[in-house]
Symmetry: C2
Subunit: 199 residues, 2 copies
Amino acid sequence: MTGPPRRGRRPGAPDTRAAILAAARARFAEHGFASTSVRSIAADAGVDPALVHHYFGTKDDLFVAALELPVDPRERLAGVIAEGPDGAGERMLRVFLSVWDDPDLRLPLLGLARSVLDPSGQRLLRDGFVPAVLHPVGVALGIDRPEVRMPLVASQVIGLILTRYLLEVEPIASMPADDVVAVYGPTIQRYLTGPLPSA
Amino acid sequence: MTGPPRRGRRPGAPDTRAAILAAARARFAEHGFASTSVRSIAADAGVDPALVHHYFGTKDDLFVAALELPVDPRERLAGVIAEGPDGAGERMLRVFLSVWDDPDLRLPLLGLARSVLDPSGQRLLRDGFVPAVLHPVGVALGIDRPEVRMPLVASQVIGLILTRYLLEVEPIASMPADDVVAVYGPTIQRYLTGPLPSA
DNA sequence: ACCACAATTCATCGCATGGTGAAAAACGCG
DNA sequence: CGCGTTTTTCACCATGCGATGAATTGTGGT
């Protein structure tokens, strides 16, 4: 594969890059995009701010580099679809919880979620997550009026994520995943297959 | 009542104050606290930035002045309590919707909600709204384990408010209030009086 | 007309931010 | 060693921010 002599990555100390990425992830996760300064990230990484800009470009570039998700969330939802609409609410919920409890995904997701209220994140959620991730699941499940039902699902999932992981409202934040599924599962299920007004 | 000669408010043009307040409300509602600059507010009001600081003090002072709610939200919830737990979910929902549809409250509430993810707003919601507004309602309703049930209610209400008024996810954003109540009422009701895990 | 006081503007200060380009230090290889 | 590349730092720039205090304008009361 490596045609030419492959001379990249010579010296033995480019883990600084990783340090910067880690610091960026932590900062973005805790304070969101707008309230995070490149300088603070550099300080956390013990590095000159210019170096940050040297490795990753602008602050936006750093943001997407730091918050890039290792896996496509849609893959994880495949299992939900396979078994049809019965119990799909509970299964979806388990997928979301397992994703958020994955240590590799936690910080990137927090970073994205923290920035959900400024314009870019707003569009990402409204024009990206709901129509590109959630809606297809509804279609694949074969439920009626997915364009109505999936936003309803989103409204509860967003509320849950927000209270559990961002605001850390007790006792939701420290509730075992099984209890969360037991409480919210029926809600999601009702939004998926229950009655709708003016149908 | 006015003991001394009452010499206040001499000239006939202090509606500039009101203009500043209106501009502040609009800006805060659209961009939140952090992303709003005093200068932009002054520009909107057609006024020098220093004047803003002259009337209202610091930016934080302006924020609380602009977002002061004309009424105590708890008053509006009184009617919900009176009739007991039956149908309380639907009644609570109607109260929240009527509050958010009140033109006088809309901008202040949006301003508060937009700032819900930075530390101050986070505390306001987690340590203020839930324990000081929602929890007492649960206690007054006489339901069991209100410290668990009311946060559940909060998680759905927050998700609904967010998708309907902040993110404006369709079709939730343009759904008639009656339909909203029909969809979410049973959910809230189940959180109030339905089964709980490990009880 | 004059004066006191409120309303408003001007000119700045100090600070933090994102970004840039050139210089310097560290390092591997021949 | 000494060269070339990479890594890292230094010294800046332009901008936008919140805030301050002095000056200016406007207005009403007497």
